[in-house]
């Protein structure tokens, strides 16, 4: 398992559109991917969970990945969330 703390740099937060794009990215990996915000643990392959988590610009979240392609998955997601 690998994880990393990141700051969300998507100006409109991780809502419908960016959230949806994030799911599309997450789906390309075999690993289980979670976003952790406060005490909420969000499955990155579940668009409604992401939406309900109300993740905004400048929020600090942790990306947690577990599985065979975890390194690459973490890198790709971090890049997407923080760019």
């Amino acid at each position: 398992m690998t994880s990393k703390k990141v700051i969300v740099r998507k100006e409109s937060g991780l809502h419908a559109r960016p959230g949806s794009d994030l799911v599309n990215l997450a789906m390309t990996f075999k690993s289980d991917i979670y976003l952790i915000k406060g005490d909420k643990r969000i499955n990155a392959k579940e668009v409604l969970e992401i939406l309900s988590a109300d993740i905004n610009f400048n929020d600090e979240i942790t990306i947690e990945v577990n599985g065979e392609d975890e390194k690459e998955a973490l890198k790709t997601l971090e890049e997407y969330i923080t760019k």
Binding site: E11, S12, H15, A16, R17, G19, S20, D21, V23, N24, M27, N43, K45, E46, V47, L48, L51, S52, D54, N56, F57, N58
Partner: protein, 569 residues
Amino acid sequence: MKLLGIKVGNGLGLGKALIIDAKLPELNNGTTDSKKEIKKVFKAIDEAIVDYEEIIKVLKDDDLKSLTEFNKNVLISPSIKIELEKTITEQQCYGDVAIDIYFANKIKQLENLDNNYLKERAKDVKDIRHKVLAKYYGIKEFNPNLLKEDVILVSNEMTANVLLTDNLDHIKGVISLLGGKTSHIGILTTSLGIPSVFGIDVKNILNDELIFIDGNKGFVKTNLKDEEIKKIKEKIKIEIELNKELDNVKEAKTLDGYEFEVSANAGDLTELEKINSIPLDGIGLFRTEFLYLNKTTPPTEDYLFEVYKSFVTKLGDKPMIIRTLDIGGDKKCPYIDIKEEANPFLGYRAIRYCLDHKDFFKTSLKAILRASAFGNISIMYPMISSKEEIIKANEILEEAKQDLIKEKIKFKKDIKVGIMIEIPATAVIADMLIKEVDFFSIGTNDLVQYTTAVDRGNTQITSLYNWFNPGVVRLLKNTIDATKDYDNKFVGMCGEMAADPLGIILLVGLGLDEFSVNMNMVKRTKKYISLLNKEETTNFVDSLLTLTTAKEIEDKLNKYAKEKYGKFY
């Protein structure tokens, strides 16, 4: 009959009303064979996914694509089938019941969030539920591909599903009772260029009746006479021509070479992406409310700063006027303590609240000041009713500046400060107040409301709400004239009047410097200005100032507009 509603998607349309009955059968009661139901439910989901995938393939519009992509992603979620199977097995219920339970939970979660944007997304999830249930029951949904004649879609609660297609040629408009500008269906009609008006009850419209929809003004007309139909067709033809011409619009220069600034109103983060695709001269009104309203705790200085910075950086050297928080009893915020009031528009709001909550106000000013190091930013105070309030607000601004100097953070030291002119008392003494500020921005929506004592929402008196009321015109003139003695000061307008074809004539004539209009009205406003001659319009408007009724003023403007705008009016 003319039915007034809320304008959402711009444009005009004529077509036969097609009432879409969105009703599904009642949910099945009792218990049944779980295995068969699970299969049926999985098939419904798979079919719905295939539908969305096919739609995504043919769509060209990015907004539409990502919305459909979102719908698809809800259905391909790893948990959906697991949860549905569990419900059906455990409760031995029919599949439709399981589908309903699954989505009802998701919808409730979104609706319970303290964020209007996410609340709207709950409606999208309702659309998805509707689609999956329709598949489950084997109900054929309304299919725009089969349309053979021009229609206007009518429903009490329009689902966005009906527009997820590229075959839109026959859809001339959308009418719905429920939904708003930020609803899925609202965004869709706007981005697709389909005229839409919301807030109209289906029971006022007959199926198959020829109706007219005006998404520019926000009404629907039923029971049309032949003569009217002929006129409407002509109007639509011209509208199409005008739209073509608008694509080439760049600047708002009058025939005699005077250039006016036409900027946009903004405040929604989604507008950030549009800035570079519209020929706007700046942002004349940045509403900060949006950044405050969708939160459970006050936004931090850093957050506000980042948002302002991202906008002003995108604007390059174009100006951006940021209006400090305009909030009141009508817009609730959990961390802002404004009590229930009988008249929130005459109550404790905007600058009145901010001056009493100095630290809160100072934080918001510091964020604006910090962003001013990155572009051409000005500050504007709303709801000012007296000189004392300007002085008090400026004192707090000065403290904010001192704080930043102590913190060694950069900002524009001589940042321009202006006020909204929306309370009649300030319009009357504009010549006194201009000495205190760098600019005025006239907020006509409230100025007209306060001057004529008309609540815009009250349908019984809407005809009294008129910006050509001679009393209002005189206040406008007084305000604009007050700035004319100062070379380095200006006056703008950020209300709906600034985009009104007749309003534009009056304002060009009175010498307004800046028009700030909704993003989608920028090109149109520039086009109208460019069809006028400044000197001539000034003389014409002078002759209106002696007229004593709104009707006389409007009639004359109407005649002038026909002459100057020609086919575009």
